[in-house]
């Protein structure tokens, strides 16, 4: 068993990314450089090729998944997703618990903020993850599944909220006012990550 949960999470996310790669690239085409879908798909294929069964636990596996993304994705999303998963893996609880998983996810988000220095409102994946973690914490007393469901819902709302924003970080920022009106690609993919978590981690 060991890395079962982490393995299932990543497998689910890899499938989502693959099925939606063109859509993600197309969002990035509108306000970036047309590669977010292919970047993430390349990386998650490499993660999916890891044998979760070879790892002692989900923490170790997720750390390796993060390192794999760092080594295969490049661009902005490589270091950001890679740091997220390395931190989540590093903070993964020895015993499953709603609090433990919440703390691990929060460590991941902190890694993203440390690396990318984005704030809420900059039109990045942080705009989806921040409300997701807040919703998780608010629901943590109801158990892992409820907390993850709440997080996924809030994440999607945060993602939708990026559409009208003017970007201040990442490539979309170069467009100034013209970046408003398109949903942020990274916020879109990270919502798939949290939705996958809600399907697999509880």
């Amino acid at each position: 068993m060991g890395a079962d949960k982490g393995g299932a999470w990543m497998a689910d996310f890899a499938e989502q990314i693959h099925d939606n790669a063109d859509m993600l690239t197309d969002l990035d085409r509108q306000i970036g450089d047309a590669d977010h879908g292919s970047n993430m798909d390349r990386g998650m294929k490499a993660v999916a090729a890891l044998a979760a069964a070879d790892f002692p636990d989900s923490g170790a596996f997720l750390k390796k998944a993060g390192m794999t993304l760092v080594s295969t994705v490049g661009g902005a999303s490589g270091p950001l997703y890679g740091t997220f998963l390395m931190r989540v893996g590093g903070a993964w609880p020895a015993e499953d618990s709603a609090e433990g998983i919440g703390a691990a996810l929060r460590a991941g988000l902190e890694g993203i903020i440390q690396r990318g220095k984005a704030e809420v409102g900059d039109k990045t994946m942080v705009d989806a993850l921040t409300p997701a973690l807040a919703a998780y914490d608010a629901a943590v007393g109801e158990g892992t599944q409820a907390a993850l469901d709440a997080a996924a819902k809030a994440c999607a709302e945060g993602r939708d909220g990026t559409t009208p924003l003017v970007a201040r970080k990442g490539r979309a920022s170069y467009l100034g006012e013209r970046s408003a009106g398109t949903q942020d690609p990274g916020a879109t993919s990270v919502t798939m990550l949290i939705e996958a978590a809600a399907r697999t981690l509880a």
Partner: protein, 333 residues
């Protein structure tokens, strides 16, 4: 999408095979890590110079590897910065004992990946690594709260000049200082007539009308700051130079002027544009010490151009004139 390729996924790898086949006299290629090395790297006692970034800007950076310029270029996927593993491998391989400079264009992805590589190098290799981040694109407003200006044309000039300084034996501190000075006194601005098409995306990154142009574009197919009706070359030259000249006071200082094509613009148009740029600089009393005209920092098949002005003192001009032997730039040997 019409391109001379096989599978979109193999464009970078197969192009590197071509680079190796064509230039094995001067470079060698690590295909697994997608790194182009100067053939005789590491050069003992010389500061190692590494750059890299997304592919699709050829000849930058791979075409600038060789004597008098870069020791290694890390090639990312098209428009996607390379990964830290590549930079780490290149850093260790080119260190000749005098430390290594990472030349990074200011894009979130490039900066973060190079940062991770530098952290890894500090932790694991004992190689002294310094970085310089270029951010010369005046199309983008600089601010602490944004990603800042993009790194564009100055990068090419910097790689040449710093390359000559390293070849001359200057130490890492001097090289870092020189690199920062160059970045500080160079500015660029670009425009596009057409979008480029990323092979993996399969269609143009932006749509643009038959009578429109994008002003203030970068080199990754990202749309510019404004779209406007297409204008005569002389107006375009004025439009590109105005924000450059109002950002830095070049009056009276000689410059290196760089008229760059974005990949789909033929030389006949670039020379015509260069004439307009030279006329404006002449009127502004800015002497052109040296110039470079051609497709050197491209954006795949994009039609368009960028202008870069770099203030040049005697030291810079001397280093510019020093011999360089790379597939993309060669003189003096």
């Amino acid at each position: 999408m019409k391109k001379l390729i096989n599978d979109a996924a193999d464009v970078v790898a197969e192009s590197l095979l071509g680079v190796e086949a064509a230039h094995s006299d001067r470079v060698r290629v690590d295909h697994e890590n997608k790194i182009i090395y100067r053939k005789d790297a590491p050069v003992s006692g010389k500061v190692g110079l590494i750059s890299g970034g997304g592919s699709g800007h050829e000849p930058m950076h791979g075409g600038f590897v060789g004597m008098g310029m870069l020791d290694a270029a890390c090639c990312g996927e098209v428009f996607t910065s390379p990964v830290p593993d590549q930079m780490m491998a290149a850093t260790v391989a080119v260190d000749g004992g005098a430390g290594v400079l990472h030349i990074v264009k200011n894009y979130t992805g490039d900066v973060m990946n190079f940062e991770m590589a530098a952290e890894m190098a500090a932790a694991d290799s004992g190689v002294r690594v310094e970085s310089v981040v270029t951010d010369d694109d005046v199309a983008v407003k600089d601010s602490l709260w944004t990603a800042g200006r993009r790194g564009v044309g100055v990068t090419v000039l910097l790689e040449k000049i710093v390359g000559a300084a390293a070849e001359e034996g200057r130490n890492l501190d001097a090289i870092v200082e020189l690199a920062k000075k160059i970045n500080g006194q160079g500015r660029s601005m670009g425009m596009a007539l057409t979008s480029c098409t990323v092979p993996a995306a399969g269609k143009p990154t932006f749509d643009i009308g038959d009578n429109e142009m994008e002003v203030g574009v970068g080199i990754h197919g990202e749309p510019g700051r404004t779209r406007m009706p297409i204008a005569p070359a002389k107006d375009i030259a004025a439009m590109l130079l105005e924000p450059i000249l109002s950002d830095i006071d070049y009056t009276g200082s000689p410059v290196i002027a760089f008229m760059n094509g974005l990949g789909g613009t033929p030389l006949i148009e670039l020379y015509l544009m260069y004439n307009e740029v030279a006329k404006i600089l002449g009127k502004a009393g800015i002497p052109i010490a040296r110039c470079l005209v051609g497709n050197y920092m491209t954006s795949l098949d994009m039609a368009g151009c960028s202008v870069t002005l770099l203030k040049a003192d005697d030291d810079l001009v001397k280093l510019w004139d020093a011999p360089v032997n790379t597939p993309g730039l060669r003189w003096g040997c």
